[in-house]
């Protein structure tokens, strides 16, 4: 199903559409791009596609006295440009994000301006046309673009968190509210991410977490799995986005990198073991940027003798400090997406803690 296709072009009323779009801007509802004005018949289709009670509360921020219901989610998803059949994926993405402490606390208001990363598994990808191949970080594909936008509009409108007001992003992550990708299960050497997270093969599911930043690794230079992983370890261990004692990360591997690693005998767990041990910086390197120690709250800062910060448990000299707290799944999310045409993979840095779980896409 696409938009109403019974209309002939001559029956469309673009002037009325423009007026309605401008009305939505004037209400302060837009993220800056045009919105699809939501009407009762449109929202009814969304609600029917999800089969959940419109009054169900799916998010709550008591400090702001605001809630998100399924109906408000449907209105915002419609405004974001989603088709009704995307709505179960929007709800699964929202539910997946709600499993993180930061999303029910101050994450949406943060100076970091974190971006949701939404990964879709299973047959729903093909049914909706979710891109999992070339250009997977966008743009160009309606579900990939509009599903994360719906999340952003829910935060803006249902929670009332507006930039320059309750939203205090210093700069914000490029691509905030636009990162949604299908896992390229067809070209991945490993089981789907959602299966690793405990769901059944063939289930449609969404994995989501908030990102602090991302940076790709372009390595078409080596056939050695160890050399390739060393390149990832270096990028993961950068000090720039590393602000607490430990931090989580993720990798969206391109098929070429994933296949090279699998060919050398690495499954996801082995990749994590390798990277957990090697991703980080020496205490001397961290001292050079004022981040070699951490205080009682786990916040990094200069070590002993500079500014009264407690020496912290990493105050030693010369030792290597690991960035990942362990090789557990929730500290290093691994997915596969993109085209098989080059060795370019995205390293992401987690804003808080990924739940390590996937949420099934439920359709009536």
């Amino acid at each position: 199903m696409t938009a109403e296709q019974t209309e002939t072009e001559s029956e469309l009323d673009p002037d009325a559409a423009q007026t309605a779009i401008e009305y939505c801007y004037a209400q302060g509802w837009s993220d800056g791009l045009p919105l699809v004005p939501a009407t009762r018949p449109l929202v009814a289709k969304f609600l029917a596609a999800a089969g959940r009670s419109p009054d169900e509360i799916i998010g709550r921020l008591p400090q702001l006295d605001r809630t998100v219901t399924v109906e408000l989610a449907a209105i915002n998803a419609g405004m974001a440009g989603c088709l009704p059949e995307y709505f179960p994926v929007v709800l699964a993405a929202w539910d997946a994000l709600m499993r993180e402490r930061s999303t029910t606390g101050g994450g949406w208001q943060s100076t970091s301006g974190p971006a949701p990363l939404i990964i879709v598994n299973g047959p729903v990808r093909a049914e909706l046309g979710v891109n999992s191949a070339g250009g997977v970080f966008g743009p160009g594909f309606r579900p990939n673009s509009t599903i994360p936008r719906a999340i952003g509009l829910m935060v803006r409108n249902a929670y009332g968190i507006h930039p320059h007001e309750l939203e205090q992003a210093t700069q914000g992550l490029p691509g905030r509210w636009s990162i949604c990708l299908g896992e390229n299960e067809e070209e991945s050497p490993w089981p789907p991410l959602a299966v690793e997270a405990g769901l059944a093969a063939g289930d449609s599911a969404v994995t989501a977490t908030l990102l602090r930043t991302c940076e790709f690794v372009d390595n078409r230079h080596t056939g050695s799995a160890e050399q390739l992983l060393a390149d990832f370890a270096d990028t993961i261990g950068r000090s720039g986005a590393w602000i607490f004692r430990h931090a989580g990360a993720g990798i969206v591997f391109c098929p070429e990198h994933a296949q090279l690693l699998a060919g050398a005998g690495f499954d996801r767990a082995a990749v994590r073991e390798f990277l957990a041990e090697r991703s980080g910086r020496s205490t001397a390197e961290l001292a050079a940027v004022g981040k070699d120690a951490s205080d009682d709250n786990g916040v990094r800062g200069p070590g002993r003798g500079s500014g009264g910060r407690p020496p912290g448990q990493h105050g030693g000299n010369g030792g290597f400090q690991r960035m990942l707290p362990s090789a557990d799944r929730q500290h290093l999310l691994i997915a596969v997406a993109g085209a098989r045409n080059a060795g370019i993979s995205m390293v992401v840095r987690l804003f808080g803690g990924w739940s390590g779980t996937a949420v099934p896409v439920i359709r009536p």
Binding site: V43, Q63, T69, I75, S110, L153, G160, E165, Q168
Partner: protein, 184 residues
């Protein structure tokens, strides 16, 4: 008749902050003999700054002592009722902060309002980079214009000596905020 455009906020028809008109806790005549509470929010230098001001309230303004100094575990959310309750049992005035992030500045103001509602004059310290979000929270809580103390941003990178200096600078504002000599 065309279909109506639906409101995505859930607030259609909800009056904006019907302002229950927050009654501030009565200000103290002076600090002499009063019990001071400090509530830091885990932000770097917050505990140090509040502690230094607390000491000055005792040494220079004859407050009895700092009788309660706790850390609010979740900087992003307003303080839980049991924590507020401990302060209202053990203190006469409260000093809290430092609001220097997106969510914690707003929450610091919310905490100040909770203390006021519990009958405790509160001095809330926020970085001046977060005035808009702090004001937005005050309005949200039905206390538009709630007075809090602004200090130049940033606080987290100050050295210990610089924090002590900042404490001295803030002292008159803190005293003014919790005594009858408070400004307009």
């Amino acid at each position: 008749m065309p279909n109506a455009i639906l409101d995505p906020t859930g607030r259609a028809g909800v009056q904006k902050a019907a302002a229950p008109g927050l009654e501030l806790a009565p200000r103290r005549r002076d600090l002499s003999g009063l019990r001071v509470g400090l509530m830091d929010n885990t932000k770097h230098n917050a505990a140090l700054l509040l502690g230094e001001i607390g000491k000055l309230l005792v040494t220079e303004h004859a407050a009895a002592a700092v009788t309660l100094a706790e850390t609010k575990a979740n900087f992003a959310a307003p303080a839980p009722a049991d924590l507020i309750g401990r302060y209202s049992q053990e203190c006469d005035v409260v000093l809290t902060g430092v609001g220097d992030c997106g969510s914690c500045s707003a929450s610091a103001v919310a905490d100040g309002i909770l203390f006021e509602q519990a009958g405790l004059p509160a001095a809330v310290i926020c970085s001046d980079a977060f005035v808009v979000t702090a004001d937005a929270m005050a309005e949200l809580r039905g206390a538009p214009g709630y007075h809090y103390i602004r200090t130049p941003h940033p606080v987290a990178v100050l050295t210990t000596d610089q924090v002590r200096e900042r404490a001295k600078q803030l002292l008159p504002d803190v005293v003014a905020a919790i005594t009858e000599h408070s400004g307009p």
